[in-house]
């Protein structure tokens, strides 16, 4: 029990005391997860829109594949990205292994199906009459698309929050692709894994609390956005 209490105290000490290794891990985490969230929204939003808006042959199969991708294990994504960006791999020349960019690529692959699936579902759930009404009112195609997107803005926000939550908390990709390098690619989750391995549970719990605090702040600011 002691180390749980000690963890709480330590968390406050680390954050207020400005412990450099904690803060660099916090910034690395924020940087990489924000980047991968934006990337997954940039790619997943259009794909989800196309998938939800249009009816086409093979749509059902595509949805099945997408749903399977929702269950992709992070270690498998980590391994695949590793194989591609290792010097011996096809993208080895770019030197992305052991960088935050490498982690961001893996996390984007993780978040892309989440964003796509949620966007597609929300678009599908738009009132069918809305489209019809807009057509009758003589709206242009562009206008219809824009209105639909505006109607599902909360759904998109939900997709962003879910994607952020997923990439913020994953450890497999960060560990395998990033290599857990102190002051560079050590994120909060890989730091927790390391501290636990070293038997320093209080430090691990402290970092866990830091992570929860970040998640809380992100959700708080997004729900503030919703009220606007």
């Amino acid at each position: 029990m002691d180390f749980i209490v000690a963890g709480f105290i330590k968390a406050i000490e680390l954050l207020i005391g400005g412990d450099s290794s904690t803060w660099t891990a916090v910034f690395a985490t924020l940087k990489v997860s924000t980047c991968s969230m934006l990337l997954s929204i940039g790619t997943g939003l259009p794909c989800g829109f196309l998938l939800g808006y249009f009816d086409f042959k093979g749509k059902k199969h595509l949805r099945t594949i997408l749903d399977t991708m929702l269950a992709l294990p992070t270690v498998f994504i980590g391994l695949t990205v590793y194989a591609f960006i290792s010097r011996q791999g096809p993208l080895g020349e770019l030197g992305l292994l052991f960088t935050l960019t490498g982690i961001a690529i893996g996390q984007t692959i993780l978040a892309f199906p989440i964003v796509t699936a949620i966007t597609a579902s929300t678009i599908e759930n738009i009132d069918r009459d809305l489209k019809l009404t807009l057509v009758t009112l003589g709206a242009g195609k562009r206008h219809i698309v824009a209105t639909c997107l505006w109607e599902v803005r909360y759904g998109i926000l939900a997709a962003a929050v879910t994607a952020y939550g997923r990439v913020l908390t994953e450890v497999g990709i960060s560990m395998m692709v990033g290599g857990n390098i102190k002051y560079h690619t050590r994120t909060i989750t890989t730091a927790i894994a390391l501290e636990t391995n070293k038997g320093l549970f209080a430090d691990g719990i402290a970092l866990g609390l830091v992570l929860i605090t970040i998640a809380f702040i992100v959700n708080l600011s997004l729900s503030f956005l919703r009220k606007q």
Binding site: L38, L39, A104, N180, H184, K198, G199
Partner: protein
């Protein structure tokens, strides 16, 4: 009220962010793969700032088992190695992956276990200890990750004339780093083999009074030699051979050797410098 969602704009922002992240790599930086013991003990964190200050080279490292570290070097994913498996290292150079090997420091392996020593191995020689553990089917934690420690442990089973108890219930392969494996051994009241440096670190995290004690030590075969390996430029033309050589030279320098000698926890030396 038409709201245009400008995807091109969003993508431009995203790529700018990626580029700023990607271009942080400095030209004078060196990437090293090393074993968990040099990292877990805190040695590198103590040593490397001195290296960076004296040479202006930024050194980053990833801590993994020696087996994987060698593999990372073979794939040219790192520039230099700090490892501890001399037979494997010599083979590595012979195969054309490694170039220069410089011995820099050593400590020794010890067998640790619960203080009450349920199998009764205390004070025995290493082969007898392994035979006793096998006969009593006492719980033994193996790294099981082809690390330097794991390679040595496998050799010791062979020397004791025992087939590797790979599938035995009492032989637990953790697949994790040294300190993690010691902690698992503590939870399971089992025996394990560790380098002395990591053991002292473990003792100090437990405030000097750790439940697992050293039971077997002192055999000549338990010597644990650490070396810096540079990669053969023929195999890895992109690896920073010059900087790797500088690191190797620095580790063998009088200054670094003194720093290693002064690195202590609980008043004990973790590594003993022995560069020639």
């Amino acid at each position: 009220m038409s709201r245009k969602i400008n995807f091109t704009g969003i993508l431009a922002i995203i790529f700018t962010i990626i580029l700023t992240i990607g271009t942080q790599a400095q030209s004078k930086s060196l990437m090293m793969a090393t074993t968990t013991s040099t990292d877990n003990t805190g040695l590198l964190e103590y040593l490397i700032p001195h290296f960076e200050q004296e040479t202006g080279i930024n050194l980053k490292w990833t801590a993994t088992g020696t087996g994987k570290a060698l593999k990372l070097g073979q794939n040219c994913d790192v520039d230099v190695l700090l490892v501890h498996a001399p037979p494997a290292e010599k083979k590595y150079i012979a195969k054309g992956y490694g170039k220069d090997r410089r011995q820099v420091m050593y400590n020794d392996f010890v067998i640790i276990g619960p203080e009450n020593d349920p199998a009764g191995i205390k004070g025995k020689n290493i082969s007898d200890a392994f035979t006793t553990i096998t006969n009593k089917q006492a719980v033994f934690m193996s790294r099981g990750d082809d690390s330097g420690t794991n390679k040595k442990e496998k050799l010791l089973w062979k020397n004791a004339g025992i087939q590797l108890p790979d599938k035995e219930k009492w032989y637990v392969q953790t697949g994790q780093g040294m300190l993690a494996t010691i902690n698992i051994a503590q939870e399971r009241d089992g025996y394990t083999m560790t380098d002395r440096g990591t053991y002292i670190k473990y003792q100090s995290t437990k405030g000097g009074n750790a439940p697992l004690k050293i039971l077997v030590e002192g055999d000549a075969i338990l010597l644990n030699q650490y070396s810096v390996l540079t990669l053969d430029p023929k195999n890895c033309p992109n690896a920073k051979y010059d900087l790797a050589l500088k690191f190797s030279d620095w580790m063998a320098s009088q200054n670094a050797q003194n720093l290693i000698k002064d690195f202590r926890l609980l008043g004990q030396k973790l590594f003993i410098p022995n560069a020639k």
